[in-house]
Each structure stands twice: as C-alpha cells, then as structure tokens.
C-alpha cells in the first residue's frame, strides 16, 4: 500500500463519499427491517476498518477479535441496564476498556509468531467467551436484552432506529477519518515497515513489537465500539458475539474486502451481512453459502494483495 497519493486512493475517497450519502438518504426511506440491515452493514464496515489496519497494514492475524466485540456489547448492555445513559460516555468507556484489554492481549500474543500467534489469539478469545458465559447474573449463555437506547448529551434520545442509524453514520464518518489519519501517520508508515521487515525497523531504533501492539490496540477499540453499537441496534447481547465463529466472520470481512480500499471493505460488509440475512430468508443454511464463498476466495484469489503478503510463511520467521 503506497502512501503516496495515487489515483486509486482518490477514487476510493469519492466512492466512500457516495456510499455515505446513499446511506443517509436510505435512512429516510427504508423500513424497520432494512434499517437494521443497513445498520449491521455499517457497523461491520467500521469494525473492518480497524481490522484492516491490524491485518493489512501491520500484518498481524487475529482469530480472537470477537472478544472485543463482546466486550463492547456487554458494556453497552450494562449501561442500558441503568436506564437512561449517554452515548458518548458509553462509547468512551468501551474505548478505554478495549484499549486496555487490547494492549494486554496484544502484548501477550505478539511475543509469538505465525501459527502459534494464531493459536494464542484463539485461546484468549475462548477465555473471554467462557468468561462472558459464566456471568450468570447477566444471562450466562443466553445473554440479555439491551432495551434502553442511549441519548446524545441528554439532548436527543436515539429511541427510534432512524435516529440510531444516523448516529451510527456519524460515528462511522468519525471512524473513517480516524482510520485515514492513522494510516497516513508516522505510526501508520511504521506499521507498513514492520510488516515488510521487522528486523530492519529494529535496526533503525524502533521496536517492531511496540508498533504491532499499537495496531492491535486500535483495532480492538474499533471492534469494541462496533460491538457496542451492534448491541444497541439489535437490542441484545450474548456470549455468542465473542465466539470464534464470530472472529472467523470478522477475519472473513478483511479477507473479502482486500487490503487496500475502504470501499472494498464496505462491499465485504455487504457481502457478509447480505449472506447472513439475505440467504437466511430463503434457507436456514446460510453458513453453507458463506463457507463456500470463503473457500472459493481462498482457492481462487484475485486481489488479496496486501493480505496475502501479510500472511506469507516468510513473515513468520521475521523478528517481532
């Protein structure tokens, strides 16, 4: 991913703008069910932005990010149980919690490489899942309802789906901007460098380990916020949000979306949600379609670009 401005990046920005505009207009027109779909797509897009930073830019694969999604969802749930709560405060809490959890998890698993790193992410995610499952006061395995919608600074309560969708779009725009800044930042360049050659980065005086932990932390926050919004949208949270199936879906997002463009990620989000919901209308067996799609993408890759590079076996030997 070249940082230098190129036509492709410029075009992508336009497409993103169009998508956002389309989403805004759609909010006024869609029915309740379709609004929920749009909401899910936008939320997955937000999460994918953070994950792309981790996977495509820093070259770290995590099979455990659903843990952050569940963390965000449960925090949203806890706030909701208090009754009236503030959106900004709630999201700030989610961000802090996921930043802490994310840097801890990142610091641990980034001491390993390759396949063992994958296993470590899985292990932590499983532990988080069991942790949530054991919270019997919060519904245990069944989860609980997140019935109360937050208000924004006490002014507007997001009690209708339309209002929540608009809030999601605003948060998404902020997220796009933040991801954009980080990508083009000094740290963003370091992430690319670390993915290329961690040993070389160390020889210049910077710890590649530290850079990767930052990428992990940022992606954890994005995922957590996505999880919180998801819980508010669906008015529900459960440990399933933290299962490794969900982690797999999240990685599939980045896989399908490719490594370079943000609009690509949007399409991936549409695909994942689309398959879940769209196919689910006709048959219960939508995972079959998703599984087949993923397998097909892996067997016949067209444009995996940066993602493939991040995961080639050669990278596993390089110093972390």
């Amino acid at each position: 991913m070249k940082l230098a401005s190129s036509n492709k990046v410029g075009l992508d920005a336009w497409v993103v703008g169009l998508i956002l505009l389309g989403a805004l207009l759609a909010v006024g027109v869609l029915d309740v069910y379709q609004l929920k779909l749009l909401g899910k797509v936008l939320i997955f897009w937000l999460i994918a932005l953070g994950l792309q930073l981790l996977v495509a830019q820093a070259g770290v694969i995590s099979l455990g990010h659903a843990a952050f999604m569940a963390t965000g969802a449960y925090i949203a749930g806890l706030f909701s149980l208090q009754g009236q709560h503030d959106l900004i405060l709630m999201l700030a809490c989610v961000a802090v919690a996921c930043a802490a959890f994310g840097s801890l998890m990142g610091a641990l698993i980034l001491r390993t490489q390759g396949l063992y790193q994958l296993m470590a992410t899985l292990a932590i995610a499983q532990m988080a899942y069991y942790g949530f499952q054991s919270l019997r006061s919060l519904g245990g395995d069944d989860g609980f309802a997140v019935s109360n919608r937050p208000s924004v600074l006490g002014l507007i309560t997001l009690n209708t789906d339309v209002k929540l969708l608009l809030a999601i779009i605003v948060i998404l725009v902020l997220g796009l901007y933040v991801a954009h800044r980080i990508r083009r930042s000094e740290m963003g360049a370091l992430m690319l460098a670390v993915r290329d050659d961690g040993r070389r980065v160390a020889s210049l005086g910077i710890s590649p380990y530290g850079v990767k932990v930052w990428a992990f932390l940022i992606s954890a926050v994005f995922t957590g916020i996505g999880g919180a919004l998801f819980a508010q949208l669906t008015r529900f949270t459960s440990p399933q949000l933290g299962s490794w199936y969900m982690s797999g879906e999240l990685i599939i997002l980045v896989l399908l979306g490719g490594g370079k463009t943000r609009s690509g990620l949007f399409l991936a989000a549409v695909a994942v949600v689309g398959i879940q919901e769209g196919v689910a209308r006709y048959t219960d067996h939508w995972p079959l379609v998703l599984g087949a799609l993923v397998l097909a993408r892996v067997l016949w890759p067209e444009n995996l670009g940066a993602l493939k590079k991040a995961a080639t076996p050669g990278e596993q030997g390089k110093a972390s």
Binding site: L108, Y116, M119, Y130, Q133, S134, H285, L288, L299
Partner: protein, 295 residues
C-alpha cells in the same frame, strides 16, 4: 470427594485425553508432514459419528461401524483430492480461512441431511454395563473398551511410523520433500495417505465418543480447538509430546469440571474450569514456545 469418585474422574480424564490424542495425532501429522492447518478436522470426527449411528440405528451396530469407517475414508480421499491438495502451498492464514469455510459447509450439510436435532447413539449391548474395579468403584465397560481401543490405535500408529516403510517415508517427507520425491515416491500419494490416516483416527474418536456425547452438528469443533492446544503444549510434530499433552489436557479439562463447582469463587468457577486449558496453553506459549515435551 470420595476416593472412588476421584478415581472415576481420573479414568474419565485419561479416556478423554486418549480420544483427544486420536484427534490430535492426525492434526499434528498433517501439520508436520504437509505444513497444513486444518480447521475442519473436527468435521471428520462429527461425520463418522453421524454415519455410524444413523446407519447403526437402521441396520445394527456392526454394519454401522463399517459404514462409519468406510464412509469417513471415502470422504477423506475425496476431500484431500478435491480441496485440501490445493491448500498445501498456501499461507497458513489461507489454510485457516479455507478450512474454516469447509467446517461451515460440513456443519450445515449435516444439518440439512440429519436435521438440527441430535441423533441417538446407541451403545451396543455387549458393551453396556459396568465392571467392578474396586470395592466402591464400578466403571462403565464401554469407557474401558474405548480406552483400550485408543491405546491400541496409538500403538498401531507408532508402529506404523517407526517400523514400516510408509512410516519412514512419512517422517522423511516432513523434512525433505525433494529427497523423497527423488526417491521416486509419489509425494501426492504420500500426502493423501497421511491425510486419510489422520481422518480415520479422527473418525474412530468420533465413533467411540458418540454414545458419551450429544451427536449433533458442530460437535467436533471445540475438540479441534483443544487438539490445536495439545499441539502447542506438546510441541508440533512430536508423537510422544502429543500423547503426553493430550492426556494432560484431558485430565485438566475433566478434573477441573468435576472438582471446581460452579459456586466456587462466586460463579467464576465454571469459567475457570473452562479456561484452565487455555491458560495452560498461554503459559506454555509465553514461557516455553517449543512445547513442554520437546527436547
């Protein structure tokens, strides 16, 4: 907890560990020889159980066993030929994602064919009942039987790998693909053989575990994760490490569930017992990443 109860749990732990071993051996062999991570290995466990017990319900246990083992061999051959073969050269991430997709497909296929309700897995009459092991301890005959079978299977694999020509080729193929090919051995055939062996072991475990668990879609997957944990803890490619780690993890998992009651540590007891295995894996990864049992 009485001594008899403790003994029973220890035996259960050993038995679970041995089942895990059967599953893990396949995964570690396939990883060691073909450098392939197969997330769908648990699906083979599941399919064998479904084949055996749905056929067994209709045509008796004996025929069910045959169909189970035969069926899994056919599935393994086809799977390796059509899909797995194309994944050998790909990155580990691609393999994980691709076989994750396979797992989703298999789980749904099972739901389509057999429905979402679990199927009933009968214990054959001649294996039901229990054997008296001591004054207070009666242990189910079935569990003893499968423990024995697992040990025998393990021995068979060990003999195969260390004493036969195929075994030598398997071990050689793990290190020097070109050398083996230069010897005139068809590497594709060798890989297929390894895959099928792994599949048969997984299938065997699935068939034997059937009556002890609920036979439904997705049962192999949590075990697959445990198998991966076994490989991390035991060291990839080490058969002895695999056995030791499997039994260790089987014991930890079974005993922690039995000994740590749900009320311990204010409801966190259940979580701790589920997490114990993963905590072990994390500790190993951080302190001794080459595995506990490797040199």
């Amino acid at each position: 907890m009485s001594l008899a109860l403790l003994l029973e749990q220890l035996l259960n732990g050993l038995q679970f560990g041995l089942m895990l071993f059967l599953l893990s051996v396949g995964v570690t062999l396939i990883f060691g020889v073909m450098n392939l991570v197969n997330i769908s290995h648990g699906s083979l466990f599941m399919l064998a159980a479904f084949f055996t017990y749905s056929a067994g319900a209709r045509w008796g246990y004996g025929l069910g066993l045959l169909i189970g083992l035969g069926g899994i061999i056919i599935v393994a051959i086809l799977l390796e030929w059509l899909v797995i073969r194309r994944l050998y050269q790909k990155s580990h991430l691609d393999q994980v994602l691709g076989t994750f997709g396979l797992m989703l497909i298999f789980n749904e296929l099972v739901r389509i064919i057999w429905g979402s309700e679990p199927i009933f897995a009968l214990t054959p009459n001649w294996l039901s009942g229990s054997i008296q092991l001591s004054e207070n301890l009666y242990y189910p005959t079935y569990r003893l039987a499968i423990t024995v079978v697992a040990i025998l299977a393990g021995l068979a694999i060990w003999l195969l790998l260390s004493r036969t020509r195929i075994g030598m080729l398997v071990r050689a193929g793990a290190d020097k693909r070109e050398t083996v090919e230069a010897l005139g051995v068809n590497i594709n055939f060798l890989f297929a053989v390894v895959f099928v062996i792994g599949a048969v072991l997984a299938g065997l475990a699935g068939i034997m575990m059937g009556p002890l668990i609920t036979v439904e879609s997705g049962i192999g997957d949590p075990l697959l994760i445990l198998a991966l944990v076994v490989i991390v803890v035991g060291g990839a490619g080490s058969l002895k490490g695999c056995l030791a780690a499997s039994v260790l993890i089987g014991m930890i998992d079974t005993l922690s569930r039995a000994l740590v009651t749900a009320d311990f540590a204010g409801g966190a007891g259940r979580a701790i017992s589920s997490m114990s295995v993963y905590l072990l894996m994390l500790v190993v990864l951080l302190l001794r990443p080459q595995g506990l049992f490797t040199r």
